[in-house]
Symmetry: C2
Subunit: 446 residues, 2 copies
Amino acid sequence: MPRTLHLALSAYGVGGPGQHGLWKDQRVPKNASVDIDYYIRQAQTAEAALFDAYFIVDSQFINASYPAHYLNRLEPLTLLSAVATHTRSIGLVGTASSTYNSPFNLARRFASLDHISHGRAGWNVVTSFDTGTSRNYGLDEHLDYPTRYGRAEEAVDVVRGLWDSYEDDAFPADVDRGVFLDPSKLHALDHAGEHFRVAGPLNLARSPQGQPVIFQAGVSEEGRTLAARVAEGIYAPGGTLAESQAYYRDIKDRAAALGRDPDHVVILVGAGPVVASTDKAAHRLSRDIFEADNDFDRKLGFLGRSFGSHDFTPYDLDAPFPDVAHLAERSGRTRGLEIVRQARDENLTLRQVVETVSEYTPSPFTGAPDTVADALEHWFAAGAADGYNLRFRTHEDLERFAADVVPLLQKRGVFRTEYAGDTLRANLGLPVPANRHTLARESAAR
Amino acid sequence: MPRTLHLALSAYGVGGPGQHGLWKDQRVPKNASVDIDYYIRQAQTAEAALFDAYFIVDSQFINASYPAHYLNRLEPLTLLSAVATHTRSIGLVGTASSTYNSPFNLARRFASLDHISHGRAGWNVVTSFDTGTSRNYGLDEHLDYPTRYGRAEEAVDVVRGLWDSYEDDAFPADVDRGVFLDPSKLHALDHAGEHFRVAGPLNLARSPQGQPVIFQAGVSEEGRTLAARVAEGIYAPGGTLAESQAYYRDIKDRAAALGRDPDHVVILVGAGPVVASTDKAAHRLSRDIFEADNDFDRKLGFLGRSFGSHDFTPYDLDAPFPDVAHLAERSGRTRGLEIVRQARDENLTLRQVVETVSEYTPSPFTGAPDTVADALEHWFAAGAADGYNLRFRTHEDLERFAADVVPLLQKRGVFRTEYAGDTLRANLGLPVPANRHTLARESAAR
């Protein structure tokens, strides 16, 4: 079977990254971020276009200067659970922080979603870079970067351990023998590690996928290590083709070096396609959107996100860029460190940094449908991506992509014409992990 | 308007309290506890019968000796979120522990459910009596009873504070002025208490009910104090009519003494009606079910639940009842302390205690439809209940109650013939709480 690409839809209400003025668009309901019917319609449209997954990002800290969508949004797991019963085949990937949730709760909620969706749940593991988040969870200081990543890795191990609490055939429910559970197939975890002690077992049967799919978006050294070790789906940062190829190669090599099959690490490059009838019209549209969305204050706020949502408004705009490297380090923002380096090398003021960082660069997936399909196919063939995590400005833009670009990808044989199955693992080409206790038993018997 | 009673449905898959053998019933799917379609159908049937609320209990610890439904069940919030989009008017009350969840997460998840359900969410606050639960959350020792209740009270305060982060009119979303948020209507909480420090604000607008409804099931002294102070709905333990009247009076008096309107504390007595064509047939059915469900091992396991899920199997059945008062105290189980007292006063062995505790006592709501309606009306009129939290053995039993008993209650004018509104508050007759910041502003302006 020829290799085909995967598509995820990143869902936002009134605006995702680079769409901060979207709430002003008349086509978008002002309360879209908390309107469950809006999300259900998005997911159904993506499912009709045979997307692999529907993906919800998250954050847990705001201040009044944040973009519209961040200020007011549904919690990802409750959102996806509602979407689950109105869809049938599309994967449902929710973001949850391993820093501010206990593994037992995470294991329960994602396994519950996997049951409710009949095998379509995925967990996007994040460590919460926003330093303000810690103050919503009783900590004065944000956990430092290595601690957050150590905790994330251990949390994934614990959660996976809990997901294996029951073997697949643990519940014979045999009325004649009066046996509901076979107790030899229920296993406590008894985990005691550096960050967690969790006894288990989980009070939930193995879910239809065996285990929900683990997603991650590692960019830093620690992030890449974590991604290569635990992730089955990766949200890659994008950038240029060369940058994406390098990232792709690096992650696949790291996974192989850890003894994993690189094909079982599906790398999805983040992309915001802008499609119009001609290339020229698409580029004009893209530029117009950028100008409408990005006034100086918005750009200044956006810069802050590379430093753990630091507030740059009190600084003198025309003084040299302030010494904020420690903020980027603490929140683990690779981009922040790059910015500090560039500002120092080029002797930039804060104002100059803002303009440089927020410089307009069109998405490589901007153009007429054929152009966009070309680019998507090219990056895929050139070893930059196994697929894409797409974001669209409006529902109409998603519909246009589905109507005009997806059929071209299908005609070229690089995208499916029907779902491989009704679980996320089936569509991503990922194996169902064998239960560790069943494996151990079988291995002992041999 | 004459006072009318309220009905909640307590939902279980393959068996609730006193239904431990239910999984053997051919009418019940063996996987009912994790089958979302089963729950959706239950909720829709209860909604068609105009029930106020659909209620999901929870626990977070199991061992292999637990009843079938406890072993394997969906997490309440994901479950209810899926149910929300398939119902329109019935309240959705989920259980969550204030001992093992952070207030910020609780506030988000319940507010999210309130948005998704358009104003039908309720939080049943529990402190998790099962001592084993602590070991799933990194603690060697279960938090003691007063600590758990102090934490619960503070958690409710913090969650309510977070629910008021935004005033109702915080989002003008005024395109002409370019104003999405009015920042003067967004408020940090900056809570620093004995158990929690939470800065806020919550990243979610005030939900359609202003705040989800708080439920509680306080029996002990601390539980009653908490219930009287914070609960708007109470799941009362039931027992005899006289016991229920005493409990009802006590809670209403406590609430009034705290300056609350006793009508805004809705007391629902737990009841498992058994309805058949005649009283005699109903009592025979009730007895048969009890016998089928309760072998000695089951009774021994059930006894353990009054002592924080203590395992009594290692004890000599014919020796005097062991000294386990400290276990009942630690888990705060009033029932356990009563059992210890009775065992001492009457010099009982463990075996005798098991048989005494598990003695067959039919529900006071057992009989022909008229008899059951009589009893429900009588307890309601006699100051024992504002309504009932009902559990049924099978879906067919719920349907029978809806078809045969509900119309009698309606004919007598003690139950609604249509919903008062599409929010849980509207149907329970509870006010929408004013936002504290709006109140403060208005009071300062006067």
